[in-house]
């Protein structure tokens, strides 16, 4: 720094000396002194620019200029707060929408689970190739219990490996109620480091004997909702699917587990045979070797990479393949997140891209808006820019100066956008009707480094997008008319107004596209709600019953279902999937094995179809052709 200062101090004197010598030379050649001096100055060139260029040699110039431009930009905010406010607000909305969409997707699919030391927690999935048959209950990437047990006991890379499966339970109280439960291996709480507020978590003894283990750990929410925060809750019993469970613990309020929807009760995995539907012929789910139904989450030992864990589990999986000729299994191990199943991620990636692209569209419109603001402003600053160009400022320098202003506004917009991103998603969620609020885990939207980086990047892009073109336009002017005040009208020629029209056209076009899409989406939703199923729905009521959970058998159902297999007939099944209107889809029973159960039909495409008897005739619309359901 001091060296630079010394060099710059000398420069002035040196240049003055140089010009004096040149003047002297000119005088000696016979010029009058006055003329000699002008000739010398002419020959030397622009003194100010020479100094600037020399200073460039000694400084990291762009930092110095950035500071200078920054100071100017703050001055601009001060001078025209309305303009700045409008630009910041527009950008804040654009960036805010993008950041909130991003942080939502990020929290669902990338952000580690809200458990202790989440970095070492991973999900384990199996990928199968080849020709084989396998029962699927949920997703084909899940594991069976023997596979899980084999991995758990055979590996040297995990500090702990837990398995779980979601199950919907029918709670018998004053009235029957359906609640979300999780069948969990008994190391679930210790592997995830889940705190227990009262009592204890599941312990290995609970899982010791298959079919036994009638204890339950309840969630904080369930404890408050059903037991009214009763301090003496331990030891009380719950009747779930006609089984009696003794409450041994209450999970801490901040433990929401591994699922987006926090379970209300955790039960030992060993009770699975009693609680899961008897759909794969064999009642004992724990003995089924070739059925996908268990999510597996593990905590890696320190210093073990995902790759290393994969290769170790691969070996174990290959050994199991020996019993299933034609099947090749590979294991994938990846950082645990809510949406981590390869099946969901495959679809999710497309959906996420589409949603981000839509949000990006909004940012583009915001940028175009701000760009036209800047363009209008540049017209107002016509003379200022003209004067600066005339004084020897290079065009690039001016462009940079204008861009700094944009950047400052965009960064302020980004900061405000983070605030928008904080309150927008909850607002949206509360605006969507019929969202199940209870039991849904709190999605953590607190900005972390990744989200901040995203907002920052969005701001930078926005600054370039809305600043670059106006800056180049503003600095492209004819000097002489610009310096004369009245010239401004003349030389704001065609180019600029054409650009402005382009911006407006882009903006209107973008808005139209978005509005049309939003309109179509809303119409589509409305349409889906009111589409006639092809028969009169008047006086027909759809009821979803989980009778099997209460121990009803086929005879007591009062109606029978028949598989939709008879050829040639029209559709027999009336509803796809077991889904109640206005609620989240329940876990689908995906049958790929040859099995059936009361109330469940076979399906060729893998989707369960729930059938009820004689729907069409009961509804007063006998089918026009073929036969009715029986």
């Amino acid at each position: 720094m001091s060296r630079r200062k010394r060099m710059m101090d000398n420069l002035d004197r040196d240049i003055r000396d140089f010009i004096e010598r040149e003047t002297q030379d000119n005088i000696e050649r016979g010029m009058p002194p006055e003329e000699a001096r002008y000739a010398a100055l002419r020959k030397f060139g622009n003194v100010a620019r020479v100094k600037e260029e020399t200073r460039e040699v000694w400084t990291i110039l762009w930092i110095e200029q950035l500071l200078q431009d920054g100071r100017h930009a703050f001055g601009l905010l001060h001078r025209s707060p309305t303009f700045a406010g409008a630009a910041v607000l527009t950008l804040a909305l654009g960036i805010g929408v993008n950041t909130s969409v991003f942080s939502l997707l990020y929290s669902l699919a990338v952000r580690p689970l809200p458990v202790k030391d989440a970095a070492s927690v991973v999900n384990v999935y199996e990928n199968f190739r080849g020709h084989f048959r396998r029962g699927v209950h949920g997703s084909p990437y899940l594991l069976s219990y023997p596979e899980y047990a084999n991995f758990r006991d055979g590996n040297r890379v995990f500090a702990g490996l837990a398995a779980y499966a979601g199950v919907s339970l029918s709670l018998r109280g004053a009235t029957s109620e359906e609640i979300a439960g999780l069948l969990a291996s008994c190391n679930y709480f210790s592997v995830l480091g889940g705190d227990i507020a009262r009592g204890r978590g599941l312990s290995p003894e609970d899982c010791r004997t298959p079919g036994q283990g009638s204890v339950a750990v309840i969630s904080d929410g369930f404890w408050k909702r059903v037991f009214g925060s009763d301090p003496a809750v331990l030891g009380k019993t719950l009747a779930l699917n006609r089984q009696v469970f003794t409450i041994v613990g209450v999970a801490a309020g901040d433990f929401s587990g591994t699922e987006l929807q926090t379970p209300e009760v955790w039960l030992p995995l060993s009770v699975a045979p009693h609680l899961l539907p008897n759909i794969f012929k064999n009642a004992n789910w724990l003995a089924l070797e070739n059925v996908s139904w268990l999510n597996v989450v593990g905590r890696l030992k320190p210093g073990i990479s995902h790759r290393r864990a994969e290769s170790e589990l691969d070996v174990l999986a290959h050994q199991m393949d020996a019993n299933y000729p034609g099947r090749q299994t590979t294991v994938s191990v990846n950082s645990a997140a809510y949406f981590n199943n390869p099946e969901m991620r495959g679809v999710g990636a497309w959906v996420a891209t589409a949603i981000l692209a839509l949000a990006g569209f909004i940012l583009v419109i915001a940028c175009v808006n701000v760009a036209s603001l800047f363009l209008a402003r540049a017209t107002a600053r016509y003379q200022e820019i003209g004067i600066r160009l005339a004084l020897g400022a290079s065009r690039m320098r001016l462009v940079r100066h204008l861009l700094t202003e944009t950047l400052l506004l965009a960064l302020m917009g980004g900061a405000a956008g983070l605030v928008v991103a904080r309150w927008l998603p909850p607002l949206l969620v509360s605006a969507v009707p019929e969202m199940p609020v209870t039991g849904c885990a709190h999605i953590d939207l607190t900005p972390d480094l990744v989200i901040l980086a995203y907002a920052f990047l969005a701001s930078l892009l926005a600054a370039v997008a809305c600043g670059l073109v106006p800056a180049f336009q503003a600095t492209r002017l004819e000097l002489v008319p610009a310096l004369k005040e009245e010239g401004s009208a003349v030389s704001r020629g065609m180019g600029r107004s054409r650009l402005r029209s382009t911006l407006i056209v882009t903006q209107v076009a973008g808005c139209t596209v978005l509005l049309v899409m939003a309109g179509l989406l809303v119409r589509g939703l409305r349409h889906a709600e009111s589409t006639g199923p092809g028969f009169f729905t008047k006086n027909v009521i759809l009821i979803s019953l989980d009778l099997a959970n209460q121990g009803y058998d086929e005879a007591r159902f009062g109606f029978r279902a028949r598989p939709a297999r008879s050829p040639g007939g029209p559709a027999h099944c009336c509803r796809r999937g077991a889904r109640r209107r206005g609620s989240l889809p329940r876990r689908q029973h995906d049958q790929r094995d040859d099995s059936r159960q009361q109330g469940w039909g076979e399906s060729a495409n893998g989707l369960g179809k729930r059938c009820v008897g004689r729907v069409l005739s009961h509804a007063g619309n006998p089918p026009a052709a073929g036969q009715d359901l029986h």
Partner: protein, 120 residues
């Protein structure tokens, strides 16, 4: 306006200007004005160096450590800045000169292939 043209010329000269400046130091320490004069005279006024552009170039060379600067008294007893070649600069002059020779030769061969062939 000639802003563009001027800048174009400076850029064109930038690499070579450094070489020309280094070359003038072979005779010993010189001050800024003398450098400009020397280049003009020795090129028989073909090369019109924009005198101002000398200064950024000089400072670049100082920063690289190829020349050094010191106070001195000029022939007519005036105090002035004197620039002189450092050891590193002398070595660099050789490197730059041979580079220039190669470049000039290569360009000449491309532009006048017949002549060079007949020469060789």
């Amino acid at each position: 306006m000639s802003t563009k043209e001027e800048r174009g010329r400076i850029e064109l000269l930038q690499g070579t200007l450094d070489l020309l400046i280094l070359r003038t130091f072979l005779l010993g320490p010189v001050h800024g004005h003398a450098i400009a004069k020397a280049i003009e005279m020795r090129s028989e006024d073909v090369l019109q160096v924009e005198q101002g552009s000398l200064y950024p170039a000089l400072h670049r060379l100082i920063k690289r450590g190829w020349i050094s600067v010191q106070d001195g008294t000029s022939e007519n007893n005036r105090r002035a800045k004197f620039y002189r070649l450092t050891f590193k600069g002398r070595r660099q002059l050789d490197v730059e000169t041979s580079k220039w020779d190669k470049l000039a030769g290569a360009i000449a061969r491309i532009l006048r292939p017949a002549e060079t062939e007949s020469e060789s």
